[in-house]
Symmetry: C2
Subunit: 688 residues, 2 copies
């Protein structure tokens, strides 16, 4: 690649007015709390120390250099991602990193890559569902990167509906082999991360068929490529599925199997088994254990969504503190030297209204992620001792929360990008690629629109129990709020003035009332009006959202009321209290239609809530930069010209421009030279 | 590029179940109207004939081939876009196409490209603002592509705020030259389409300085590159600004000018002038004429938004009619042969609720685009004869509508993409690149969040007039509805049953009442409570949105009531009536909080509106595919595996996969071969 021609930043030019660096300095000086204290409260000291250690290891290693990523075509980006994953594997081996430390390093590198699914789904599934023999045969070489695996579930024609998978896995008693087969085009495995170019083994989810009878989808290990030559083995058709909105550093692939034979031992058999001699099916003893993994995955999704909000707001809030545009209509247009006065964009209430509630949501999701991890551990302990009481509630809440947090996080990134004005559109802002890579979260692990049925089905069940026999109803957070609602349906908000909006008890009560109201209304349509399930999907979505928002409000409220660590630190508690109120009031304002329809609030009270939001925005505004500093997301992760901790946004944008490869070519614009674009390709005759 | 290895679609495999082609056939058989009739009603026969003619010219010309675009890196895509623009210019010359026909051809090619801003802003500005002499010198060679221009307004530090531009243009009487200069880094022209690599001339917006006094931003022509060598001329620093979320086929660029001298005649002087000898400033006689162009640009934005909704829904609705997933909970799980029965995704009410209102919005925006063009022409005629009565209303409405339609269209594309499930994420769906290329509309031509102030400022003015002296208030659509509101503030919706929701008069009245209510409430905060302008930006945004939605409802209502062409075609009118009601009821449901807060509707009525939406979704569902067929968007434009008119989505996805270039390389996954990714690069020792 030739060096850029004729382009360099003139050294004598600087940005007009106060520098970004100084502006961020002023912002930081306004802090009412210590950002480092807050960072430790959020992440814990150990995590921050690990981050410092990892940044030292990663930041100067060329395998993790991010400076050129946006200029590369897909092949080159894939090559770089492969190198990154190999180097991470080397470092893990060299430093004997735990899985957790490795994941932390991978998070900082921030690039989906070829070994991603090998490290997560392939290895995890072998650990959870493999017998000792299978772990010895597959898990050990997988952990040493001697084999590379992928997890092949989704098919071209089947995403969410696992039961509908078409791939078959038929046992043949004579040979003691399974025959794995793709009967149609739509049965092609599709979207499988790492399959396209990297993996040599796949865990294939296939319909298990024994003596002509189907037993539903089961996981079976199929070797797909030769370990040395990397050529597909006979009977396997494999390809990368081509470019996507994001994730282009991962080789999502397709796989068609033509009567491929694998030995009996390849069916993952820790739970369900097939007797090799009689072909009899031995069902799993306790299928509840597999739900635990799902909760863990969804707790991670909530935690990730929290981090997404932190990252998007870090970039947007820092840049909106640097960017100035227009003068305030009510303020003087010129300073005492006659120079135009422009307002920091973050001072516009419209910008505050778009960004600061996302900041508050980040904290709200933080507490709900903690709640989900606690629930996961409590449920795991219970299930081990045969107690399944938490299972249904855990499953329902995690379904509803998965939907809520992924939809919130995806739109938050885009909102933050737009708040950066035109420069948010540049890849150098770090936001477009971040958005594109995050988007699959809305669709995978249960489509965030359809998944809400699972939550509401459980809410229906709880409401029905309470209505028929409250005494015997299961006791948990859901039934508690529904019982309270049924006892006092005509409960009304008791707020008269803006000052009445302060109590966690009020917000818990409000969001509980709204959720229970929606569930009751929708259940009546189902049970009394006998409406079809399908005709109620929109209402069910609303119930799930209301329940999930209640959970988030409740978890944040309980932290404000009871978190000892927070209560010991008045400066942190004070700003957290404001963020809490902002989150609650903003959410209530956004969802005002529900609160008004149920009669819980009236039009006058809706105005009070809106006014309170404005009041809180003004209170949180001066703390915005210190708060995003407290998220402690390093520049290495952000990789953003606009979000840099030093505020040198305009210099970074210029630097990004001059490194663009098309600047090294002079382009021919003569419309009669159709195929000549580069000046070096212009026919001699038409040259000077 | 080597051919893909080992990959081909096995000929004997077909998608499971009923083919996409047949499914779309069933859908088309359900049509209650003729799609061709509807297409002619929407687009006019002439437009459709021109489209057929253009497709014949374009579809087989290799310069317009889209099949490889998603596999190319930026340099190659830019090269292809340059070729496309050159070939279009050749065809225009060859066939003597009008500008309108050329734009139609460019629309079908659907790729932002290096000459885009040359053809639009550069040439248009020369036409509108150039003197005869300037047109001769610059416009003629520009139209013949002998010079290539760009329009350099935005700066690194200044987007929306044109008055704040830093570039200066200082007149020197001795030499009769202007000195154009970039005083700071933030004054660098930035985002300028075509500047980075293509343009040799720029219309630079710069602060005009005469005898030390500033006269605000004025346009001046600066030659920036040598026409033959394409090298920047002395004192110009030029670069492409690097990759963006979309628009990577356009060379958005930056320009720094170091005391660049241009002759007096380069200042565009049809309106404002500078006396060459005395350096006296001659202001424009009538600045109102320049507003006309703005209205025309915004009418185009409304029309484009309409087409965006048509295109996004065409892809999503066709694919959701093909895609099947899960069985309906209330329906049998297996057919009579024991095969699982899966539901067309479009039959799920949740999917209908996400897609069909967008379909209805497309029609709503269609009528509002017509309204805007009419307004533009009426206003142009008026202004020519010195009548400025339409000017303020036109400016306000077009500001509000620009905000509303761009925000709606951007989120509609993403909603449609998500409704396609995982495959919407593939570039082959045509949706991710479409979204990325559309996004700048939210930011440019006035940021869609900040621009709403311009609309509401006017609404305030009208409301104040009515309150102080209704007799002398200007007469127009705004004052009409506000006067009605002031006369009957406690007007309430008179609906008791779902059947009451049918009358255009009701919806006009409802949306007018809501808009006027919000304006009055907000104006009280400004005038009575003396709240600062900045503290009311969120409320002003809501006023502008409500006013704009009123306009859209009104324009659609008037078509339903009065459009003769529609009334002559009962089959079209019947489905249009349903789309109309769906649009109105859905919008009312989405904005229910406003209607409830004002007391115009109560909770019970909100439920009735929601139920009506469900009823209308069921009525529109069978017509969904025929309706998107009527949009008459050809496969050549859509370039979408999922949206193909023939329904062969799965075959197209497979075809897209096997053509991915990384499939032609065998990748080395050995973690100890850090730099070797391609098998051909593996050191001999580690090979087999």
């Amino acid at each position: 690649m030739a060096p850029p021609i004729n382009v360099a930043i003139p050294a004598h030019l600087t940005p007009a007015g106060i520098s970004g660096n100084k502006l961020l300095g002023y912002e930081r000086a306004k802090a009412s709390f210590d950002s480092q204290d807050m960072a430790e409260y959020i992440h814990g000291k150990a995590y921050l120390e690990e981050q410092t250690y990892l940044l030292n290891v990663l930041a100067n290693d060329p395998a993790f250099d991010k400076s050129s990523m946006h200029y590369l075509g897909r092949t080159e980006r894939f090559r770089a991602a492969m190198k990154k994953d190999k180097r991470l594997a080397q470092l893990q081996r060299e430093h004997n990193w735990s899985d957790k430390t490795s994941r932390h390093a991978d998070f900082l590198c921030d690039s989906p890559a070829p070994f991603g699914l090998h490290k997560s789904m392939f290895i995890t599934t072998l650990r959870n569902m493999g017998t000792d023999e299978q772990r010895e045969a597959f898990l050990k070489p997988a952990e040493a990167y001697q084999i590379i695996g992928c997890y092949a579930q989704t098919e071209l024609g089947h995403g969410s509906n696992v039961q509908g998978l078409e791939t078959t896995c038929t046992y043949e008693e004579e040979t003691k082999e399974f025959i794995v087969h793709s009967p149609t085009l739509t049965s092609a495995k599709w979207w499988i991360g790492g399959l396209g170019r990297s993996a040599d083994h796949a865990i294939v989810m296939a319909q298990l068929i024994l003596k002509g009878k189907s037993y539903g989808p089961h996981p079976i290990i199929v070797q797909i490529r030769d370990i040395k030559t990397r050529e597909p083995l006979p009977g396997r058709i494999i390809a990368d599925i081509g470019p996507k909105a994001g994730y282009n550093t991962t080789d999502n692939g397709t796989l068609l199997l033509d009567q491929v034979r694998v030995p009996h031992m390849n069916l993952l058999a820790r739970f369900a088994k097939v007797d090799p001699d009689t072909a009899a099916y031995v069902p799993p003893k306790n299928s509840a254990l597999t739900y635990g993994t799902l909760t863990w995955v969804r707790a991670n999704i909530v935690q990730d969504a929290r981090t997404v909000l932190m990252r998007a707001t870090t970039i947007a809030i820092r840049y909106c503190a640097i960017r100035r545009q227009f003068g305030d209509r009510d303020a003087p247009k010129f300073d005492e030297h006659g120079r135009p006065v422009e307002t920091q964009v973050l001072d516009y209430t419209m910008v505050q209204y778009r960004l600061l509630p996302i900041l508050a949501q980040a904290f709200a999701f933080h507490y709900t992620a903690k709640f989900m991890y606690n629930l996961y551990h409590a449920n795991e302990d219970n299930v081990q001792s045969g107690d399944l009481s938490l299972l249904a509630d855990t499953h329902a809440s995690s379904s509803g929360l998965k939907s809520l947090v992924t939809l919130t996080a995806a739109s938050a990134i885009e909102e933050c990008r737009r708040a950066c004005g035109g420069h948010g559109y540049s890849m150098s802002s770090g936001l477009p690629s971040f958005y594109a890579d995050y988007l699959p979260n809305v669709t995978w692990e249960g489509d965030s629109y359809m998944l809400t049925q699972q939550c509401t089905r459980y809410l229906f069940k709880m409401m029905r129990q309470l209505k028929t026999n409250p005494a015997t109803a299961e006791k948990n957070v859901t039934t508690e709020y529904m019982a309270r609602y049924l006892a006092k349906k005509d409960d009304r908000a008791d707020i008269k003035y803006i000052g009445d909006l302060y109590s966690p008890v009020f917000f818990i009560k409000s969001f509980a009332h709204r959720a229970a109201y929606l569930v009751e209304q929708t259940l009546q349509l189902r049970d009394n009006a006998r409406r079809s399930w399908n005709s109620l999907l929109v209402e069910m979505y609303r119930c799930s959202k209301a329940h999930s928002q209640f959970l988030v409000v409740r978890n944040f409220s309980l932290a404000i009321l009871n978190d000892d660590e927070l209560n010991r630190k008045p400066a942190l508690r004070q700003i957290m209290q404001r963020l809490y109120l902002l989150f609650c009031c903003y959410t209530m304002e956004q969802e005002a239609a529900d609160f008004l329809t149920s009669g819980f609030i009236d039009g006058r009270q809706a105005h009070i809530v809106s006014n309170k939001v404005q009041e809180l925005l003004a209170e949180v505004r001066p703390q915005a930069v210190p708060l995003v500093d407290a998220f402690a997301l390093p520049d290495f992760l952000l990789n953003s010209s606009l979000g840099r901790a030093d505020g040198m946004a305009y210099e970074a944008l210029f630097d990004f421009a001059v490194r663009e490869p098309i600047n090294s070519t002079r382009w021919d614009v003569n419309i009669d030279d159709l195929d000549a674009a580069d000046m070096d390709e212009i026919p001699r005759a038409s040259k000077l």
